[in-house]
């Protein structure tokens, strides 16, 4: 269980005055037993236009491997500053990761989409292993991943 009390420095549209209401949101990620070493996971958000809005979490400590998280890497150009202070350990096969963040309420039902990229040593990189539109409807629903992630649940 990881608890992070930080308001995300997302794009200016999200931090505009009057939208500063924040609520703790928990992301619970369960990994598949894929038979490899610990996975690097990048959690990031795109806006309604599909443009990068900000990063929520980076599981995996060595920046030299971030290019194996193709969606995140393409969106940020590999900018390590985007995950400064929101980085943790990689997540082993079959294990789960839970992160709690203070997110602005305006992130929900506004076209924002959560993307999770995954990468495992000596295995294929998996961009968009999980994609979850951030809407009231998806809260509490376990969304199934493609390859390494079994599911991600967003809960308030």
């Amino acid at each position: 269980m990881k608890l992070l009390n930080a308001t995300l420095a997302l794009t200016t549209a999200l931090t505009a005055p009057g939208l500063a209401l924040a609520t703790p949101v928990t992301f619970t990620t369960q990994m598949n037993s894929y038979g490899g070493d610990g996975a690097y996971l990048a959690f990031y958000v795109t806006d309604a236009a599909g443009a990068y809005a900000g990063s929520l979490w980076m599981a995996g400590g060595k920046a030299k491997y971030y290019k194996h998280l193709p969606g995140w890497y393409a969106a940020t150009g590999g900018d390590v500053g985007q995950v400064d202070g929101i980085t943790g350990a990689s997540v082993g096969a079959g294990r789960s990761l839970s992160i709690t963040l203070d997110l602005q309420d305006a992130l929900f039902d506004a076209g924002y989409v959560l993307h999770v990229d995954a990468s495992v040593e000596d295995m294929s990189d998996s961009a968009d292993d999980v994609v979850i539109p951030l809407t009231s409807a998806t809260i509490g629903q376990a969304v199934v991943g493609r390859r390494y992630v079994q599911s991600v649940t967003v809960s308030k």
Binding site: G35, G36, D37, G61, K62, A63, K64, K67, A74, G78, A89, D122, M123, S124, D125, S126, A127, R146, R147
Partner: protein
């Protein structure tokens, strides 16, 4: 200093290094297994063909990777389910799960991180650094012990543990240096301490609105051989702007799936290529045979650890208690020991016992503790000094020479230096010689001239003790037994008797080869392997002190043969010459590798007298290739003590012996071998100029006369017995 650098990290890091080495050795097998279990693509296969085969079998193909072993793995996502398999490049068919072989991940994790993540990586890197320091300092020590880098692969000598340590190390050290240095490189790479980040191709997007081309139509894919492929990623079906990403040995390219054009390209930098090579060298991935070799070398690490520890413990034991040691201030005789392995302490103990029994008060101490003021009653100093390898001071005596030079005045009591060393090194007893020279230089009076003991020779030590007894006015004959040897019973199977008529009863004794266990045969211990010229130690009944006889046969002859002359009153020679066929003696083998013909086909001049002909006859018997061998043989009378007379004639007929020259001291012209040498001076000089080797076996006086005669003969050709000896072409076995 160097040796402590080699020792302390050795002990501290032993366990860590052991885990890393054994893990590495186990891991080294995997690349070879993978290579063997991988079907190889045909040489003409292109990336496009390979990818088409895989894509046909697996809709939703996302990525193909090819390992240096040729193993091809594909990943796909089809009908909502991910899949991955090893692919047969010839057919595109699945060969099963791409999961690593059993144990590989566990071993890799242990070897990299000890299951401790990044902190574990730092610990293993420290282990690799320790290994590197050990290997490099050890290499310098080996070179020093062998007498130089050029003698790296010369024969090793000394106690078994030390020999095995050096033997293993000098073959394995290259691999250990390579493995540990590459390990440090890889650690630095993982922690991004090296600028070896692979460059990324500039981002590019596919031309909008075009359908995706067939793989075979994309020039870059059909023109690239599958053997160069590292990775091919397919454009996402959901993203029309996505491209192919092709990575080969030459770089990474982004390819437009609609036009087949290369959109951007980047080649790896020098650092990245270097890291790739280092990775291959360290893991054996892509160089399986090298990997196995390095793994094999890693296996030597446990043995190196154990033999290193044994040596260290043996060196520590040197301070064993001396019973009845007199106090330094009371002793009249002070024995000072500078010893490497501790064997010299054994001699010191024997000396202490002998002198104490003769009524002297004796103190034995370490040479490093030497301080003239401590020995108020000292009448004489005896220094027993070992030399390590080629002239190096033992650890236990470093700084001693400087200490002597700093003395304000030389000690009043005179000193005698006895050097212990190995004559096979060019700088024999170099340290004790330096010690004696320094003593003389500071004006310390000599009690006796410096003497030497070659390879713990019991005879050398006994001779010195006799001389010491003469100086002290006591009868002293010290028999030192370094360790009671493990003997085996040898049964006499035949004897030939000579010399009774000339008052020199002599016998050629032939013993049955004792039965050898499997272990002895495998390790060449005991009587499993020996050559003529090696020494047979025999323990006479009623004594623990062995007598040594030169062997006249090799293990291959199937018997153990020696020549023995009966000395009046001689305990061992009396027992042996009186032995009846079927009788048994207790014996052991000691190697004497310096007394045997050098390899090659250069002529050999053998010079022997009396029983000294034994090993020479053994060399001739073994000379089945018919290399030129000239024997000068001194005896008393042709009718009585011409040992091996009939054999020599036979060997001459079948070409094993080129020429036989005999000298008889009690018959005809009454010649000695040295006279015959002088008579053949011209021919001998020619033979030696042509590279001949000289081997002398017999009594001390005979050897001295031969040396003198050869010095005269060789002065004409600018050589001398000493210069030949320096070249390894003059060997003596003298008793």
């Amino acid at each position: 200093m160097l040796r402590s650098i080699h020792r302390w990290p050795g002990l501290a890091a032993a366990l860590l290094v052991l885990v890393l080495a054994l893990g590495g050795a186990a891991l080294s097998v995997y690349p070879a297994l993978e290579r063997l279990g991988t079907p190889q693509a045909e040489g003409t296969l292109s990336v496009a063909e390979l990818a088409s085969r895989v894509a046909a079998a697996h809709p939703g193909l996302e990525q193909i990777r090819r390992a240096p072993s040729g193993r091809v793995v594909a990943w796909w996502f089809d009908a909502g389910k991910p899949g991955a398999a090893v692919i047969d490049p010839a057919t595109g068919a699945d060969l099963g799960s791409p999961d690593p072989l059993p144990g590989l991940r566990w071993l890799t994790d242990l070897h990299r991180t000890l299951f401790l993540g990044d902190s574990g990586r730092l610990v293993t890197a420290a282990g690799a650094a320790a290994m590197l320091v050990l290997a490099l300092s050890g290499a310098v020590l080996v070179a020093r012990r062998m007498g130089g880098w050029r003698r790296w692969f010369d024969r090793t000598r000394g106690p078994f543990a030390g020999r095995l340590h050096v033997d293993l190390a000098r073959y394995a050290v290259g691999g250990l240096v390579l493995s540990s240095a590459t390990a440090l490189w890889l650690t630095a790479s993982v922690f991004s301490l090296l600028p070896d980040e692979p460059p990324e191709p500039a981002p590019a997007t596919a031309t909008a609105g075009l359908p995706r081309m067939e793989l075979a139509q994309i020039e870059l894919l059909s023109g690239t051989p599958a053997s160069a492929l590292k990775e091919l990623s397919f454009p996402s079906p959901d993203d029309p702007a996505d491209t192919y990403t092709l990575t080969t040995d030459g770089g990474t390219a982004l390819i437009d799936p609609g036009t087949g054009e290369m959109l951007s390209f980047v080649t790896p930098g020098g650092w990245e290529r270097a890291t790739e090579i280092v990775m291959m060298l360290h893991t054996g991935q892509g160089a399986a045979a090298l990997g196995l070799l390095l793994g094999l070398m890693s296996l030597s690490v446990p043995a190196l650890g154990i033999t290193g520890l044994v040596q260290w413990l043996a060196a520590r034991r040197q301070g064993l208690r001396i019973r009845g040691n007199a106090a330094p201030g009371q002793a009249e005789t002070v024995v000072l020991v500078a010893s490497e392995g501790g064997t010299t302490w054994g001699f010191a103990r024997t000396l202490h016992q002998g002198l104490t029994a003769a009524g002297h008060s004796v103190h034995v101490g370490a040479l490093t503790a030497f301080d003239p003021a401590r020995y108020g009653q000292a009448r004489r100093f005896l220094i027993l000094a070992a030399t390590y390898g080629d002239g190096e001071a033992p650890i236990a005596a470093r700084g001693v020479l400087d200490g002597l030079r700093r003395l304000p005045a030389p000690p009043l009591a005179p000193v005698a230096v006895l050097g212990f060393g190995d004559r096979s090194f060019p700088d024999f007893c170099g340290f004790s010689r330096a010690l004696a020279d320094t003593a003389r230089a500071i004006g310390w009076a000599d009690l006796m001239p410096m003497a030497t003991v070659d390879r713990q020779s019991v005879q050398d030590f006994a001779r010195w003790s006799r001389d010491l007894g003469t100086v002290l006015g006591v009868a002293l004959e010290l028999s030192h037994l370094p360790e009671r040897p493990q003997t085996q019973g040898l049964r006499l199977i035949s004897r030939r008797d000579y010399g009774a008529e000339v008052q020199a009863p002599t016998a050629i004794l032939r013993f049955a080869l004792p039965r050898q266990g499997l272990w002895q045969r495998l390790t060449g211990q005991g009587f499993a392997r020996f050559e003529a010229g090696d020494l047979l130690g025999i323990l006479p009944e009623g004594s623990d002190v062995p007598r040594f006889y030169s062997l006249a046969s090799a293990a291959g002859d199937g018997f153990v043969e020696i020549c023995v002359r009966h000395h009046p009153g001689g305990l061992c020679s009396g027992m042996l010459t009186g032995l009846a066929v079927g009788g048994v003696v207790q014996a052991f083998l000691r190697r004497n590798p310096d007394f045997r013909p050098a390899r090659g086909s250069a002529p050999v001049i053998l010079i022997g007298a009396g029983t000294g002909v034994g090993p020479l006859a053994g060399f001739i018997r073994a000379n089945r290739r018919g290399r030129p061998m000239h024997l000068y043989f001194g005896a008393r009378s042709p009718q009585s003590d011409l040992l091996y007379g009939a054999d020599l004639a036979h060997w001459q007929r079948d070409g094993r012996l080129s020429r036989l020259t005999t000298a008889f001291s009690r018959h005809g012209a009454r010649h000695y071998v040295q006279d015959e040498l002088r008579a053949d001076a011209a021919q001998l000089a020619r033979l030696i100029a042509a590279g001949a080797q000289v081997m002398v076996c017999g009594g001390r006086e005979m050897a001295a006369s031969v040396r003198e005669a050869l010095a005269e003969i060789l002065s004409g050709v600018g050589q001398s017995p000493a210069s030949l000896k320096a070249e390894g072409r003059y060997a003596e076995d003298v008793y």
